[in-house]
């Protein structure tokens, strides 16, 4: 079931440079759905179903991932960078990265702990102090391989481990893209639109435009959302948990989801014996925040995979949640198509 996810996580596509991901997705849409690419790089696909729906339904998932952009090359050949999307210094320091079109191996440098004052041993440097070391000894050597404006991303492969867990780099939101591809490969009961969007991690540019073009009555955003179900975190601060199924949001920092739609999806899950959960904190945000404000307004829902260590080289999800999410989406489409 997760083959597409594996393939999608192997492709790089930092916000603003989603072309490789888009290329892969289009190759998969060929003969399966009609699609077009808009001015912002969104892929808008239309999949014909068995019946015409009363409501126009759009599913949306973003193609871009968080990463880095090279901003400066020092005289000694080190690369200075900025983050693309929100990434905490703690998951950047001392990590392997791949840089530029040639996918050059690099490492994020760390001042040896031996040279720090005792009180600084656990303190993180400021982001602007970090640098990538590609092994170059001079600016000239580095410039032969890397240009300012090149993108870089975490060097982290797809790995299955534990009790059905998956670790990969760009699960946020290739998981959503993979789920949409799975739906497109299958026979759907109703027509549906699928928007593979750009630049979610840097400000939701793509989804707003895609929604304006499609003008859906209902939109379901497919995402990966922070699960804090880790050792040392208890109660509501865990937000959501792996293994408890898709996360349906009632509110986050960008969107208040229509209560009736939220309730309806939760009821649909329960009636079909599908596991589902919600977030126990008002946190995060996604493409729904721009989709609901599009045109004369869109009723939105967000269905997310619980994901540990979001925006890091090692995003972790559970396969059973992926399967359960797909089941929920199949159950939800015929419901909202005729609401």
């Amino acid at each position: 079931m997760t083959e597409e996810l594996k393939n999608l996580c192997a492709v790089s596509g930092v916000s603003g440079r989603e072309a490789a991901v888009a290329g892969y997705i289009m190759s998969k849409l060929e003969g399966k759905a009609q699609y077009k690419v808009d001015n912002l790089g969104n892929i808008i696909a239309f999949k014909k179903g068995a019946k015409r729906p009363k409501n126009k339904v759009m599913f949306a998932a973003h193609m871009d991932e968080v990463g880095f952009i090279i901003t400066y090359i020092t005289d000694e050949g080190f690369l200075k960078f900025d983050t693309v999307g929100g990434i905490n210094v703690s998951v950047i320091l001392g990590k392997n990265v791949l840089v530029g079109k040639k996918q050059l191996s690099g490492v994020v440098g760390v001042k040896p702990v031996h040279l720090l004052k005792r009180e600084d041993e656990t303190k993180y440097p400021e982001l602007d102090k970090l640098y990538i070391d590609i092994g170059a000894s001079s600016k000239e050597e580095a410039e032969a391989y890397v240009s300012i404006g090149d993108y870089a991303y975490f060097d982290s492969d797809y790995t299955e481990f534990g009790d059905g867990l998956i670790k990969a780099r760009a699960i946020d939101d290739r998981a959503g893209c993979a789920l949409m591809l799975e739906m497109i490969y299958s026979d759907l009961p109703y027509d549906a639109y699928f928007a593979f969007t750009t630049c979610e991690e840097t400000g939701d540019g793509g989804a707003a435009v895609a929604a304006f073009t499609v003008k859906p009555d209902y939109a379901v955003v497919l995402e990966a959302t922070t699960a804090a179900d880790i050792a040392g975190v208890s109660g509501e601060k865990r937000v959501c948990e792996l293994g408890k199924g898709p996360v349906v949001s009632f509110m986050d920092r960008k969107t208040i989801y229509p209560k009736e739609l939220y309730d309806h999806i939760m009821n649909t899950a329960s009636e079909n014996g599908i596991k589902a959960q919600t977030k126990t904190m008002i946190a995060g945000g996604n493409d729904a925040g721009v989709i609901f404000k599009s045109g004369s307004g869109v009723r939105v829902a967000a269905v997310s995979l619980p994901c540990r260590y979001l925006h890091s080289p090692s995003c972790v999800i559970k396969k059973s949640d992926y399967d359960e999410t797909l089941r929920l989406l199949y159950a939800v489409l015929p419901e909202i198509a005729v609401l």
Partner: protein
């Protein structure tokens, strides 16, 4: 035919061998060493090789253990709590990949605190609570307190013959010694050589002091890594990566031996820098010099960036230069005694 030094370094870096549990690394290094001499493993796990000679007896030491983690408890959800085993830099752990050596080798991820929990009074500081997420509800059956874990080996080749791995401290040093033995195959000398691949440098120093005690060596040369220049390091605290071998000068080191090494490097056109230290060296040299009746000891260091992280970086040319200096010194020392 000289073996490719990069292959040797990589084969050493790709083994585990956390301090106090060096078996896998010792086995590998012994296999490599046995191509040059008789080898044995002592009570503490040191790998010792010996080459007969009528001349001066020289001890070459590099430590074979690496920093890592030791498991202290395992919960029912598959989270493994661990402590540092050696001076690991805990700032680099969040969302890093882990390998835990239980009854089976188990993959995991070092947990990372999500943003919504970072707003508390601690701010953006690394947590002393080290957890590895194995995702295994049966983790307790496989992993026990006392088992070791490491940041997963991610061997990477960078530009300009530079390599990255979490074990270059001090597998780079071990590789330099093996390379030296390879170079000596083509040289005449009468030195007696003992090679010591010592355990527990990162924790107790127990390997070097006991290993050296068994040798009666006239002099010792310790090979370890030291700080290479990087943008966030003051220039006086580090030496250039790719700038050659570092020859230590410190009260703990034998002045004349260090001087001899410097002269050899000059004569042989081997690039080097002097690493001057006001006290102890923080390496096996400190332990070896006071072993038994005392051994005249020198220290050669290979410049390294990002020490004690998963992305330690060395320049292979520095490792090669270190090997060349060792071999040239031994050849010269052996010739003097003719």
């Amino acid at each position: 035919m000289l073996k490719d030094i990069k292959d040797i370094i990589r084969s050493l870096c790709d083994t585990s061998g956390v301090s106090g549990n060096e078996y896998e690394a010792s086995k590998k290094v012994r296999e490599l060493l046995s191509e040059y001499c008789e080898t044995r493993t002592d009570a503490l796990g040191n790998v010792i090789g010996h080459i007969e000679g009528d001349g001066a007896h020289i001890l070459l030491d590099a430590h074979i253990d690496r920093i890592g983690f030791v498991v202290t408890s395992v919960d029912e959800c598959g989270f493994v709590k661990a402590s540092k085993c050696g001076g690991s830099d805990i700032r680099v752990l969040p969302a890093g990949e882990a390998v835990v050596f239980g009854k089976e080798t188990v993959y995991g991820v070092f947990t990372s605190t999500p943003p919504h929990l970072k707003k508390d009074e601690k701010g953006n500081k690394a947590s002393d609570d080290i957890y590895i997420d194995t995702g295994l509800s049966s983790a307790r059956d496989i992993i026990r307190p006392g088992d070791r874990a490491i940041l997963k080996n991610n061997w990477r080749e960078l530009l300009g013959g530079r390599v990255a791995s979490g074990a270059l401290d001090d597998r780079a040093g071990a590789a330099a010694i093996l390379r030296c033995l390879e170079l000596l195959k083509y040289e005449e000398h009468n030195c007696e050589i003992t090679v010591l691949f010592s355990v527990q440098e990162e924790t107790t120093g127990g390997g070097a002091v006991t290993g050296a005690f068994q040798t009666n060596a006239d002099e010792a040369i310790v090979v370890d890594v030291s700080f290479a220049l990087a943008p966030d390091i003051e220039k006086e605290k580090a030496k250039p990566l790719g700038g050659g071998v570092l020859i230590g000068v410190s009260p703990s080191l034998d002045y004349d031996l260090s001087e001899e090494l410097k002269l050899t490097a000059e004569n042989e056109d081997i690039p080097f820098s002097i690493e001057a230290m006001g006290g102890g060296t923080g390496t096996n040299a400190d332990d070896i010099r006071t072993s038994g009746e005392g051994i005249k000891t020198a220290l050669l260091s290979i410049p390294q960036r990002n020490m004690h992280t998963g992305v330690e970086v060395c320049d292979i040319s520095d490792i090669e230069d270190t090997a060349r200096l060792l071999a040239a010194y031994i050849t010269e020392r052996g010739a003097l005694n003719d």
